[in-house]
Symmetry: C2
Subunit: 444 residues, 2 copies
């Protein structure tokens, strides 16, 4: 049989039908890409969306997957299903390798494709600021598989801690270091603390779970430093009440898999260091030049989301760096600008196709929030701020609202109610063991 | 740091506390092992359960995980949680390597352990009857990771089918061959047919899904040949109505990854062959001798579940071969005998410890069932048999009843209602790609 070895030559053009419609190719099925695609429905435009996963990920809840509170399918949604109502829509599971702007071609592992309009919505990835040893040894939490690896490692640590009579080893196995005091770090630390208090003592009666340490390390002088001071203080108080050790003005400089060193003399012996201290644009090849690539590896775009120097290449979401007066360093890399840019660009592409004038993008900040634990959240709205039980309900309501799919909402809601009433997290199962220092999961 | 390299020497005795209580070591947390452990609660017995997974798997629903209807955590349950109410209970995540009956020691990857009573409840694994090429190329569905691999492969096939213009390749990608017409094969074939009819045409409007073929191959002259004839006939009629091609009196002799050959001239070109045509005992090393190992690699036990020749080694569930007048070849390898043997042995061990006489095991057959699709199931009870909508409700009720955990029941129930009302299966996400012919999943 030869046909499986000759696949590639048949993959030209990715089998996307040729039509007379203008073709918009979107790279990335995150919040920006999905919002954009929806705007292009029924506008006589052919929409092609490429993503390396066949699902959209609701990243704000990844930390609950990592801590056994939710399963992946509750926060992941098949992209084909989200967008199946759009006529002339085509999804392809593909890893984009590079772009040839001069030929209006995009290359991927499954072939190449001509575009009329290209939109880069490739999002962001973890930024290790060039530290390769850190990159090799730290856990991250930007994708579903990464979050599942973290879940496996946490559980494996406790299984291993049970077995050793070496006190140093046991301490390192039960010591968790989270680097980065933004929403991700705060929410993960809070969830770990709740597991420590509610679940682990029952699961591991042979272990002295009080020895478990959760260290949250922040480089600046307060947690959640993008939020207001009151929210920061309250979040710190919540975390301290849960038993999290907060380290401020401290920067982790290296981690060899066992010892984390910092810019002061402080060190941490830990088998689990989670790096949540920075993100950077997820840049495809073929985009270069200092005038294009800006801060945090993001692509400089104008107020129409056009990549500097190109009329028909756009960037939206985390990958896009739109420098405005209010946000001279670009918008924060979060869901709101991504969705709003996707919506706005969709309307602008329709205008462009119809030879109408485009409208400049205006970002409308709606607020930000973080949850620490049961009944404990902080919410900043543009006009006021509140913390505590009500903030926690608001946080839950907003997250349920933005989840895609009625079934996902129901399942997440039931899990939350169950976890709340029973102080439980039932998805603490190790489906695929995570081999530390080996980026390979054995299949059984 | 050296402590991580010197772990092993600290693992002796697996850190199980020494007490004056008799120690029962159970290998395997399936239906048999869990039922047994529960019987030993509050009986002044130390119970140690070893399993290579930290969860109990509800195997009868694995096919729904493979076809995107359910997520793993709905049918998997942390063993520590199931058994946490038992005093003097210890779980260890361990792969048992061998047994030294002469020293009353069991060896595992994490150390060794002395036992007073040893119970083997290691279940069964897929039986390829020695065909190594089949084993390398066929998909199986006995564990959660295996079922997730099958899910990934099914979805990957359709993504790939979209890309090729080679008609032979496309046909092979859309051709599914299921070998084995028992409950597993029948249920998987039915679920695939429902996906074909309800979901794929919407997800892949560019593909002609009518070309998708589902072939169910049975060696004997009827499907579900352990059930009554009426149920067989009805199951076949249901499957045919759904569009499944049924092949009877046909045996697949080999599969090289592309072509399946049979004992007649018939061949199938397929990229997905699922082998559900046989199981065999999952035998630990250190058990040998013709008088002990019987049919299907099972361990011969007497009516007290004692392994032939040993007073304090027992075997229950699929691994045990208890030859009785009614079942000269042992009980069927299914849930009922496993649970009943676990219960009975638990009571007998308590009797043994208290120097009372043990009671011989009596198997009570309660019936068997299989579901083909929505409103389509077949149920055999000892006294009568029925098929269709009512059988389907009975099937669902029984499965919900035997699922462990209130949250699992709720989540499964909601998924079933949703899937029923919406003709949907939403967990069609490829979390870890399955690389065909490479038993390694890349971690991203």
């Amino acid at each position: 049989m030869v046909f499986f070895t000759t696949i590639r030559k048949n993959y030209s053009y990715m089998n996307i039908p040729k039509t007379n419609l203008p073709r918009v190719v979107i790279v990335g099925g995150g919040f920006a890409g999905i919002s954009l695609a929806r705007q292009l429905a029924n506008k006589n435009i052919q929409v092609v969306l490429l993503d390396r996963h066949n699902y959209h990920t609701f990243q704000p809840l990844l930390y609950q997957v990592a801590t056994g509170g939710l399963e992946p399918d509750s926060i992941a949604y098949p992209i084909r299903k989200v967008l199946k109502e759009i006529p002339n829509f085509h999804f392809r599971l593909a890893k984009v390798t590079d772009i040839e702007p001069e030929n209006q071609i995009i290359n991927a592992d499954i072939g190449y494709l001509k575009y009329d309009y290209l939109v880069l919505a490739t999002g962001s990835k973890t930024n290790f600021f060039g530290n390769k040893e850190m990159e090799k040894n730290a856990m991250v939490m930007k994708t579903v598989p990464q979050s599942l690896n973290l879940r496996s490692l946490i559980l494996e640590n406790f299984e291993q801690a049970l077995l050793t009579s070496d006190i140093n080893e046991r301490n390192a196995l039960m010591n968790f270091v989270i680097v980065g005091g933004g929403p991700t770090g705060v929410e993960l630390a809070g969830a770990l603390a709740e597991i420590k208090n509610g679940i682990l003592p029952k699961d591991y009666p042979d272990l002295d779970i009080r020895q478990m340490q959760i260290n949250l390390i922040q480089g600046s002088d307060r947690l959640l430093d993008a939020m207001c001071k009151k929210s920061s203080e309250k979040a710190e108080a919540f975390l301290e009440k849960l038993g999290v050790s907060i380290w401020k003005n401290l920067r982790v400089t290296n981690y060899d898999g066992y010892t984390a060193t910092t810019n002061t003399g402080v060190t941490f012996e830990t088998s689990t260091l989670v790096w949540a201290a920075g993100v950077m644009g997820n840049m495809p090849d073929g985009i270069d030049g200092e005038e294009i690539i800006g801060r945090s590896n993001r692509i400089r775009v104008n107020e129409y989301s056009q990549v500097v120097g190109y009329k028909n290449i756009f960037a939206i979401g985390d990958i896009a760096l739109m420098e405005t007066e209010a946000y001279p360093n670009g918008f924060p890399m979060m869901v709101q600008p991504a969705m709003q840019q996707g919506d706005a660009l969709g309307k602008n592409i329709v205008r462009m196709v119809r030879n109408k004038e485009m409208v400049p993008f205006k970002f409308k900040y709606k607020g930000s929030m973080a949850t620490v634990g049961r009944n404990k959240a902080v919410v900043d709205l543009p006009s006021f701020t509140f913390q505590g039980v009500f903030a926690w309900f608001v946080w839950m309501f907003i997250h349920l609202f933005y989840l895609i799919g009625a079934r996902n909402r129901m399942v997440v809601f039931i899990n939350w109610v169950y976890n709340y009433v029973r102080f439980d997290r039932e998805a603490r199962i190790i489906i695929r063991p995570y081999k530390k220092n080996k980026a390979i999961a054995e299949v059984e």
